[in-house]
Amino acid sequence: MAQSKTYARPPITEAVIEIAFTSALNKKDLVKLSKKYQSHYPKEDSVSNFEVEVNVRGVELDETTAKLKNQRLGHRRSSEDMCQLLVLWPKTLTIAQLAPYDGWSIFYQRFNRDWRTLKSTVAQREIERIGIRYINRIDIPVSSPVIEHEEFLNIFPKLPDMLQPMNAFNIQAQVYLQDIDCQLRINSAAVPSPLIDHASFVVDLDFLRVQNVPQNDRALQNLLNTIRNKKNEVFESLITDKARALFNHGN
């Protein structure tokens, strides 16, 4: 099991647990479920998601058609300080924690509480997908116009010398982790830094179990803990000791 490191300034900006179901809740049940979370997440917002299909058949504009393929309406609930979020879509329950991140134990307890609320409110549903996502941001102090970001990260694009240095990058890798039977999607990009005189890089780790999905609470708990441990291992492999020093001593 990967050693869990405790950093004084963990670089986690958002931690997410998502459970997706094979069948959707109807609108009435979704509203009823959303209300059940009111005491823990008093702020509510409506969210929507559209898919539009555009068919280009010829060169003339009137030969192109567009249609709304899919529209989802959901509920986003939040704590007063906007750091604890819960999003309900017809087919998914998502729990998120923004920084400050207080550790897996506290985050998992909240997920467990909200998961039990869902189960006691709506009929049992088959789980189609389980996901854990951690979005990290590494803030590197800048002392010269060129950042040697490979001194902090083990994930970056490789370009020939004649094309360096870069102004920006954005990469994605998808990996199958056989030992935990999960897909891992890694996104990494240079992003505008929220700090003065810093360069910032996002390392976004998205773990998905889409086959052999556990259907009972004990198996679900075991899987989430397994993924979390793997996440630590993966994250530590993507950063260097110089990055770790930033998380302990900061800017």
Partner: protein, 223 residues
């Protein structure tokens, strides 16, 4: 341990880099080993792959919006919803740098934001807090690290205004979008009120105000 890599390294999206100074930063990679190309089993031959598989792979490439970045419905929002949106954005922006603030700072900022946006005391001539102004404010306090909490206010345009006061000595800073600040310092000297003011960037702010007696409020040390 990963046994199969299906990496799509070619999808680089270049966008103008945005930094505090507005100058582009440059990133250099070393002469590392070449990243492995597509695995032999990736089966992307134009003869074998179906349109459905292409659609599916494109879908899987998209990084879904995280819960904090979801768009909320924007039609016909009433005042309460507009104010909620504004304070929500400000709080989410604060969470982005929460690892550099202690909890008391965060709570202090949020309490003052909520008081400023109390619907029961809302003035229709005001605008709710502007998130770009909030970001300038946050960058300032992380950079300068004030040792005293400011009182917060709002300008009519929704810019955050911070004020530090000791007796009759006062420093007020208005935070504009894109790291611009306007500061005014006043203190009594020999029975008269002496004033100084300036407009500068967050980067230069401390240099501009440090000649004045601000030790009650700041002990800035650049990292």
């Amino acid at each position: 341990m990963a046994t199969k890599t299906d990496s799509i390294v070619g999808t680089t999206n270049f966008f103008p880099s945005s930094t505090s100074s507005g100058n582009g930063l440059l990133f250099r990679t070393p002469d590392a080993q070449a990243i492995r190309s597509f695995s032999a089993n990736s089966n992307l031959s134009a003869y074998n792959i179906t349109r459905h598989e292409v659609d599916s792979r494109i879908q899987s490439l998209k990084a879904p919006a995280s819960p904090s970045s979801l768009n909320t419905k924007r039609d016909n929002k009433d005042l309460a919803e507009v104010i909620f949106d504004a304070t929500a954005h400000a709080k989410i922006s604060t969470s982005q740098i929460a690892m550099y603030l202690d909890d008391k700072w965060r709570k202090n900022i949020f309490e003052q934001l909520d008081l400023l946006h109390d619907l029961n005391n809302w003035d229709d001539d005001l605008n709710p807090v502007n998130n770009a102004s909030t970001q300038t404010f946050l960058r300032t306090i992380v950079n300068i690290k004030p040792k005293a909490y400011p009182g917060l206010g709002l300008s009519t345009k929704g810019n955050l205004v911070a004020a530090w006061t000791t007796g009759k000595k006062r420093l007020t800073i208005e935070f504009f979008p894109k790291d611009k600040t306007q500061w005014i310092f006043s203190q009594p000297v020999d029975g008269e009120t002496e004033r100084a003011a300036g407009i500068t960037t967050v980067n230069r702010l401390f240099e501009c105000i440090k000649p004045y007696s601000i030790d009650d409020w700041f002990t800035y040390k650049k990292a």
